[in-house]
């Protein structure tokens, strides 16, 4: 069978011979596996290989991005920004911050972090990544305003893979809120395979929000690898909706005592959207906490998947780990798959998991209608009510207001 992709390390400009060698090895490893399918545990519910082969004829990695592009800033709240075009850092502004405390650079592939695991998309990222950014925040510096990362993708990208890596280092006692704002309304099919590496030093805090501006026809895969030191907090909020395919693979390592992490998700999916969250909350030290709450509303033929793992190392006593997923199915053709995974080697821990899915309560709809509320609005109220538990947890009033309006609630 003819492959539906053709990737070449040589398409990437300016690589040293050492780097080329490394990348070619990674590409060889990828070629042995190909795109993931259901045989791999991390892709238990999704045969990506088949999905891509049906929707692409020949994916290549030779897209050359234009340098200039006008973009529209969010007006609803004050923020700093990075503008990233097709994975490349184009401009940045930190006008609300002390610029000496922030370092922003293009990602340095000589010092890159890479992951080799079951997920072959990580090998592909290692082989093909270019662009991306490195952001570092100085010790004791707390951002005054959120940072918005405008991830824009050009409309001319078609049948291409865009790969990049980003890195974020939060030094001791620093703090930031980041809104990852994907902005593309391309009708073309393309694939974005990105890798984020977060290092949280002692007492630092990161809130990381994902949302997209428009509906689009592209395929996204993001691997996030986070390492948390003593008394750090990392909260992820996944609100993306309207994407043809989106998989967030989140690895969070709670490496030192009192590290805390949450994964919150409020997704409202329709048409043939497919969204997956795969998480690994690794409790590697004692007295750490993790909390995961995933809420999906699924309409039409949409599909939601949640594979949430809690791993507790033998020395990670007094672990407190929680995960719950709830799905509201609005159509018989929609599907939600959940697979909780708990791997526990310590004996003094509190771990809980749960998953429910159901349809909308018609008696509640009747109640709202009996108060004069039109049926469509009644449904919307119940759906919003279902997701509100997550949306209420969003940080910063102006940002929260913007996000809730963006989601049409």
């Amino acid at each position: 069978m003819k492959n539906f992709y053709d990737f070449k390390v040589d398409n990437i400009i300016g690589l040293s011979s050492k780097e080329k060698e490394f990348r070619n090895k990674e590409l060889d490893l990828f070629d042995k596996n190909g795109f993931p399918n259901k045989r791999e545990e991390a892709w238990k519910f999704t045969d990506l290989n088949t999905i891509l082969s049906k929707n692409f004829t020949n994916i290549t990695n030779d897209y050359i991005s234009l340098k200039e592009k006008k973009f529209e800033l969010i007006k609803e709240f004050d923020h700093n920004y990075l503008f990233v075009l097709d994975g490349k850092l184009v401009s940045n502004e930190f006008k609300f911050e002390d610029k000496n405390k922030v370092s922003i650079k293009e990602y340095d592939y000589e010092k890159q972090t890479f992951v080799r695991n079951q997920n072959s998309l990580n090998l592909l990222n290692n082989a093909l990544a270019s662009g991306g950014y490195s952001l570092e925040i100085s010790k004791n510096y707390k951002f005054r305003k959120p940072l918005v990362v405008y991830n824009h993708f050009s409309e001319s990208i078609k049948e291409q893979i865009i790969s990049y890596k980003n890195s974020l280092i939060l030094n001791e006692n620093s703090e930031i809120k980041i809104l990852n704002y994907t902005d593309t309304n391309s009708k073309n099919n393309f694939f974005v395979n990105s890798f984020d590496c977060f290092k949280l030093k002692k007492d630092s805090s990161l809130k990381n929000i994902f949302i997209n501006k428009n509906r689009c026809n592209c395929y996204f895969h993001n691997y996030q690898k986070s390492d948390l030191e003593h008394n750090t907090t990392l909260d992820n909020y996944i609100l993306s909706t309207g994407l043809k395919f989106n998989k967030m693979d989140i690895e969070i390592n709670l490496n030192e005592e009192h590290a805390k992490s949450s994964v919150f998700s409020a997704l409202s999916l329709s048409s043939d959207e497919h969204q997956e969250i795969k998480s690994s909350l690794n409790h590697n030290s004692k007295n750490c906490q993790s909390y995961q709450k995933i809420k999906n509303v699924l309409n039409d033929q949409s599909r939601g998947v949640y594979q949430g793992k809690i791993f507790v190392k033998q020395e990670a006593q007094k672990t407190d780990a929680y995960q719950l997923s709830k799905a509201l199915l609005l159509n018989d053709n929609a599907e939600f798959d959940a697979k909780p995974e708990l791997e526990i080697y310590a004996d003094d821990v509190k771990c809980s998991h749960g998953s429910t899915s159901g349809s909308i309560d018609l008696d509640s709809i009747h109640y709202l209608k009996s108060r004069g509320i039109p049926e469509k609005k009644a449904y919307q109220m119940l759906i919003n009510g279902f997701l509100s538990e997550i949306l209420e947890k969003l940080p910063e009033d102006n940002l929260k207001k913007f996000l809730i309006e963006k989601l049409g609630r």
Partner: protein, 244 residues
């Protein structure tokens, strides 16, 4: 205002209402009493337009054929059902619900929708009449409310929406004496020449506070006896046995 002729209702092939006739004029208060399973709540549900009932016969509301109207249209045209078991709606703020409801009704009537400020003025006034703490209104709709609080909330909705025909389905059940009096006062203060009430109840208790013009005894899906307020007192003494 409401004219029911020969109403039959089936649910899952089981006959519940078997030829019920009832006429309600503006300004009247009607009470329907009857033993368990006689069809009282089914009548309330059918009038509110709840799905799942197969009906025959005729229900006219101000000359309009009620079966042709959706639940929300009935509400917009002034039919209000105070539920026997008000539903808990997680994640929906009570104030937001009340405002959405009132504005939906106002919009359908061709009136201007109310802004937050004007809406809050109305809610404040009506809720204080019913002794409802404002804090309740910022909570999720009926979630964690006590039985009495839920019933008071139903009456609050009635007073805000100002319906023409109010159907109270066992609003007195689960209420203590004080709450019962507050609810009854709420109803009495809303009573006027233009609007009518249909009060469904098991007991005379509520009718001590809200004086009905007519009492109907419902048995096996039919009205078997109609009388004035004295009938309730008699029923309280003798029970339903004489009528069924």
């Amino acid at each position: 205002m409401l004219n029911i002729k020969n109403l039959e209702a089936k649910v899952d092939n089981k006959h519940i209402l078997n030829g019920l006739n009832l006429d309600i004029k503006p300004g009247e208060v009607h009470a329907i009493m009857g033993p368990n399973g006689s069809g009282k709540s089914t009548l309330a549900n059918v009038l509110s337009g709840k799905n799942g009932y197969e009906t025959k016969g005729e229900i006219k509301y101000n000359g309009e054929n009620l079966s042709e109207l959706s639940t929300e249209e009935r509400a917009q045209k002034g039919i209000f059902l105070a539920f026997q078991y008000p539903l808990e709606i997680p994640g929906v703020n009570t104030n937001v619900f009340l405002r959405t409801s009132l504005n939906s009704v106002r919009k359908a009537r061709g009136e201007k929708e109310l802004d937050t400020l004007n809406f809050l003025k109305i809610v404040k006034e009506k809720s204080s009449e019913l002794g409802i703490d404002e804090k309740f209104l910022s909570r999720q709709l009926n979630v964690g409310f006590s039985g009495g609080e839920k019933k008071k909330n139903e009456i609050l909705q009635m007073k805000i929406l100002q319906p023409k025909l109010s159907i109270l389905d066992e609003t007195d059940s689960g209420l203590d004496i004080d709450a019962l009096r507050i609810v009854a006062d709420g109803v009495n203060s809303y009573k006027n020449k233009e609007n009518a009430f249909l009060i469904i109840t098991h007991y005379q208790r509520l009718l001590d506070y809200i004086k009905p013009d007519f009492i109907h005894v419902l048995s096996k899906g039919k009205i078997v006896k109609t009388g004035n307020a004295d009938l309730g007192v008699e029923l309280e003494k003798t029970g339903y046995a004489n009528f069924i």
